[in-house]
């Protein structure tokens, strides 16, 4: 039966009594708290690894594309040996994939146990940053490859028109610089925040010393 008299209604007292009754048997288990702590770092690494997996899929895609283009060009009767260029590019992508995949495999997303948090986080961060660095270096090598190929192509065909070479190479280099810039922006957008979060977690652990 609800108390009918409200003249001395003490809300605070009722609230305290309510809290005791309602939450008396409720406990937050240590396990529950530890799971929340672990999920913070784990989800960051899982997300980063997922991003790198997408990157690897793109590499495979380009590799197959250039490989197929090279194959088709090669099979075309009486065509210029453009297929060498495409084979070269496919080869570059294959090399990129193999190196990147090795680093990718090193990223460990198994649940972090108590004894190896910091070293595991650092190892994962290193692997992820390696992959992004490999991509940058690969981009520069690809640029060099295109440059050498185009110069060679010019030398074989239109060596009496240096202007043509200059224009073609300039356009290619500009194209690759723009592509590189876009790739850098895309990486920052996709990985920037997560890497910053990972770095903050590592700093948090290290400032305890």
């Amino acid at each position: 039966m609800v108390d009918q008299s409200y003249s001395n209604f003490d809300l605070k007292k009722v609230w305290q009594e309510m809290a005791k009754k309602k939450f008396l048997n409720k406990e937050i288990e240590k396990q529950e708290i530890m799971e929340a702590l672990r999920s913070n770092s784990q989800s960051t690494i899982v997300n980063l690894k997922a991003g790198l997996r997408t990157k690897l899929n793109w590499i495979i895609g380009f590799m197959l594309f250039f490989g197929a283009t090279a194959g088709l060009d090669w099979l075309k009767p009486g065509s210029d040996p453009e297929h060498l260029f495409y084979f070269g590019f496919a080869g570059l992508y294959l090399a990129g994939f193999l190196i990147t995949y090795r680093k990718y495999q090193k990223i460990d997303v198994d649940p972090i146990d108590e004894n190896s948090i910091l070293s595991k986080l650092k190892m994962n961060r290193q692997a992820i940053k390696s992959v992004l660095n490999i991509e940058r270096i690969w981009g520069m090598i690809a640029m060099l490859f295109v440059f050498i190929y185009k110069v060679n192509d010019w030398a074989n065909k239109t060596h009496d028109d240096p202007k043509h070479l200059a224009i073609t190479v300039s356009i290619f280099l500009l194209f690759i610089v723009i592509l590189g810039f876009i790739a850098e922006l895309a990486n920052r957008r996709r990985f920037g925040k997560q890497l910053k979060k990972l770095d903050e977690n590592i700093i948090r652990l290290e400032t305890l010393s």
Binding site: E27, L37, S119
Partner: protein, 180 residues
């Protein structure tokens, strides 16, 4: 970034300190678990929402724990954090934060039979808009107007006026529900 170059000996010390910090955190949370349950109970409608909110509060509390000043009261800090997390969660769920004044009485309230004042009071507080709910919870927990003002960002004067009005409103609702 000043994180490069820690040797393996420092890493072990750091990891030991990390475990100490975690144990300290767990102890403080368990000592003040009532706060989390009150907030999750007031700001969730289903068991699933309650569980999600509890996890989110624990996660955010851990992330902010290093910044917690030991001279401050942990319970106050946890209350402020929990309530902010609850409000953010509501925003993320794209629920409009209702700032209309007063208790939004509905038919369910009149149909329900309340065994005692305790259950009724909890239910009435839960019917308040999100911001008033925060204020009243802190008031009922024994926080002063200045502390409530600091936590909610509302001026102490406004806190005083609002709490007075809400109290009157709650008592009126008690009368209405029990006398029909």
């Amino acid at each position: 970034m000043h994180f490069l170059g820690t040797n393996s000996m420092n890493t072990k010390e750091v990891e030991r300190n990390q475990l100490d910090l975690e144990n300290e955190f767990v102890t403080l949370i368990q000592r003040n678990e009532g706060i989390i349950y009150k907030v999750t109970g007031l700001y969730s409608n289903t068991l699933e929402e309650e569980q999600d909110l509890k996890q989110e509060i624990l996660l955010q509390a851990w992330k902010s724990f290093l910044r917690f000043r030991k001279d401050a009261k942990f319970s106050t800090w946890l209350y402020k954090l929990s309530l902010n997390v609850a409000l953010n969660q509501l925003k993320k769920q794209k629920q409009k934060i209702n700032t209309d004044y007063g208790i939004i009485a509905n038919d369910q309230m009149f149909e329900k039979n309340y065994d005692d004042n305790h259950e009724l009071l909890f239910y009435l507080i839960k019917q308040l808009n999100e911001v008033d709910r925060m204020m009243m919870t802190l008031y009922l927990e024994g926080y002063g107007n200045l502390e409530i003002a600091e936590i909610t960002g509302i001026t102490a004067n406004n806190v005083n006026v609002k709490i007075h009005r809400i109290k009157q409103n709650i008592i009126q609702q008690f009368k209405k529900l029990n006398h029909g």
